[in-house]
Amino acid sequence: MATLSLETLHYDVVIIGAGGAGLRAAVAAAEQRSKVAVLSKSLLGKAHTVMAEGGIAAALGNLDPYDSWDTHFYDTMVSGHFINNYQMVEIYTKEAPARIFELENWGAVFDRTEDGKILQRPFGAHSFRRLAHVGDRTGKELIRTLQYKVLSLDVDIFQEVTSTRLFVDDEGRIAGVFAYRRDDGQPLVFRAKSLILATGGWGRMYRVTSNSWESTGDGCALALWLGAEVQDMEMIQFHPTGMVWPPGVRGILVTEGVRGEGGLLFNSENERFMLRYDPVRQELSSRDVVSRSIFKEVALGRGSPHGGAWLDIRHRGAQYVKQKLPGMYDQFLKLADVDITRERFEVGPTVHYTMGGIRVQAATGATNIEGLYAAGETAAGLHGANRLGGNSLGDLLVFGRRAGMAAAEYAKARAKWPQLAKNQIEAERKRIVQPFTIESGTNPFMVQETLQALMTAHVGIMRSKQSLTTAMEQFQALRADVERMAASGPIHFNPGWNTIFDVQSLIILAESVIQGAIAREESRGAQWRVDFPEELADLGRVNFVQRLSPGKGLSIEARPIPAMPESLARLFRASAAPGVLRAREEQRHLAKEE
């Protein structure tokens, strides 16, 4: 194989990932006049953000005037089972409304209320109607708006580039990233004064997932390899409603908006089982609860024909369904031959979101590596043990912007280009083409399938010491196959070769997920341990933090969570969320006056 000469580029801020967080960070950094590069594994506008459906959660109060940032704060902490970084939650709930108006300023066109404001829809475990949305394609609206905003600025976008290694200088500060262009295999070195990881989650380590192929957690893996800390890796969100039939579409998301718009869940005995599991919130309970409920119904033999539950939206009428859920209508009609305005349809849990990830400072997204930042799904903290629907898109905007600003500041303060050792670059350049030299090696597609099978079977919704030990044993057995993944054919646009790097990311992350799930001996949010069914107060005060050390491998420790200040802590001693209490108070007041 002919070796291509190395191309070296210089940027103040390099952003890896072109989803919502990466693009919002790019806007923020460019506005500070930083020279910015965005590295994207796929084409611009195709990142996983485009698949988000339901909406962006922000306490605008357009329909429910009692909504407020502290009510949103309350809902988010309760749903995250209190292992969230409360400072991130406070920042998020206070800033989300401004980020939505900003999108409108940049051309986003949200669905409207009767009086011409941004319409907000109800969603699971939100006290009020809170999700700004565009039908069932809100993620597309967000990414398209940011994409055209970025195109109007002076930002260099590198499409279809895989990033394989981060570099630090002698003092341990970020120095750059090694990457290659997928269309021709051209190796690239980006020298960077600061760098933002915005690469999304790692749902692709599971077989049944709503995630696109890109969601292999590259940024989180790059951070681990560099010595950055990660946390809450055991917290994998199963969205309660993915498609289950036919096999080719298993896992594709069915938006929570279906239940938000009134959809009801039934088991094979025509029972609305959510009334039993959560009589108050019912179908709009939090995602961890609804997923577990469907899982239990199937396990008890009350599942739908292909192992899920029935979802029914027919009572809202065909016209309404087609207007509010056009994507869902089309998706079922085209891919499953089901008209959801006339028939109920099967849904089941699908891996949707990774709450864990890179440990960051709340205000800036700074990691423990100087000059390295993270934002969006690849960072941890905002969502705790279970993410509220609609809090992900807002996360991208709020923390993408903050990371962009902080990285630009850091780059400005750094006068000289960081040193970058030549031998490190040379070593990486050899490493990436090495799979072409392996004879009778393993097939990366098959290695990924094996990993997905073991994670799905043993590290799924229901976990136990036994299942996790089995997972770890099978995982260790897979290592030899990972080392010998081979590529063949030309180097330009070679999916087999590209997949090797995806799998390498998934492997280190899968190990940390299993290790985290073993460590947390309790049930909390997305972590359901049948051998430890209770939520334990002591474990509610810690995050499990992991790091990778040369020679020592992956280590884990329980790190205490700082206590909330009294002004926030007192909210949780009340009987309900602040806005709900204010609404009740007002009603009492009105009743008295009458």
Partner: protein
């Protein structure tokens, strides 16, 4: 009798800009299978290096655009059972309009260069806006676009006449219409629409609307209204009375404004 798994043969274009040809591959059929599933099956079992671009596999991202039996389609949204039922063999080829990188992957970067030339949304006043649903229904239709570029692929101005240097294509007519029809937009792109964007080159054959996987009425709802706006601006009847007829104008504008997009 043992139940044999059903298999079928799918013909996939293999090759790059220098040379290539279709290759037959045997694929195991499963219920509800789409063409992209078949391509993945081929990758995993026969040809690891088979190049295909895809992301979401749910028709949201518009990455897996290609031509199936000559028709521009999303691989992830095209079921194979419809072909099996009618006994028609499946031939998968890359989009013809764009330069081939390899196999089913084409270089669509021209579209992003074009996108950068369009003046961005310019709010007449700062958000939050007061806008009613009826004000935004039409632009929301345009904003359903997944940028799969199938409309660009089918457009004969680009596909057969290679006039990328004078016409931006249906995707960007939709983009321009979306911006022009936004009630809060303060920018004026009509001159740009007729000149740099080259709307006059569209002769309303509706091919783009027919292939749009989002069902956007590109010709009817975006291009024709834009042409009307441009006509109102450039060729109003009073001017016509004084001898500046539309046909003369069109010819003049087309020769004068053959500006390169690229």
């Amino acid at each position: 009798m043992t139940a044999l798994k059903e298999t079928t043969t799918i013909y996939v274009y293999r090759g790059d800009a220098s040379s290539g040809q279709e290759q037959p591959y045997s694929v195991e059929v499963s219920p509800g299978m789409v063409v992209l599933d078949a391509i993945h099956y081929i990758q995993a079992h026969h040809a690891r290096d088979l190049a295909v671009r895809w992301n979401c596999k749910a028709a949201h991202c518009g990455s897996c655009s290609a031509e199936i039996n000559g028709r521009p389609k999303l691989l992830c949204k095209t079921r194979i059972d419809q072909y099996l039922a009618s006994g028609v063999p499946i031939h998968v080829r890359p989009m013809k309009t764009f330069p081939l990188i390899r196999d089913l992957v084409t270089d669509v970067s021209w579209n992003y260069r074009v996108a950068k030339k369009i003046a961005p949304f310019e709010p007449a006043e700062p958000a939050p806006f007061t806008l009613f649903q009826r004000d935004v229904d039409r632009i929301q239709e345009f904003r359903r676009c997944i940028e799969c570029f199938l409309c660009q692929d089918i457009c004969h101005v680009l596909r057969d006449h290679h006039d990328q240097n004078v016409y931006m294509g249906p995707r960007f007519m939709t983009k321009l219409a979306e911006l022009e029809m936004h009630p809060m937009d303060a920018s004026d792109r009509i001159a740009f629409t007729t000149q740099q964007a080259g709307i006059g080159w569209c002769n309303v054959t509706h091919c783009c609307s027919d292939v749009c996987p989002e069902g956007i009425q590109i010709t009817g709802n975006a291009i024709i209204p834009l042409k009307e706006r441009a006509a109102d601006r450039n060729w109003d009847p009073l001017r016509r009375l004084f001898g500046h007829g539309p046909s003369a104008h069109v010819a003049e504008h087309k020769s004068k404004d053959r500006q390169k997009i690229d």
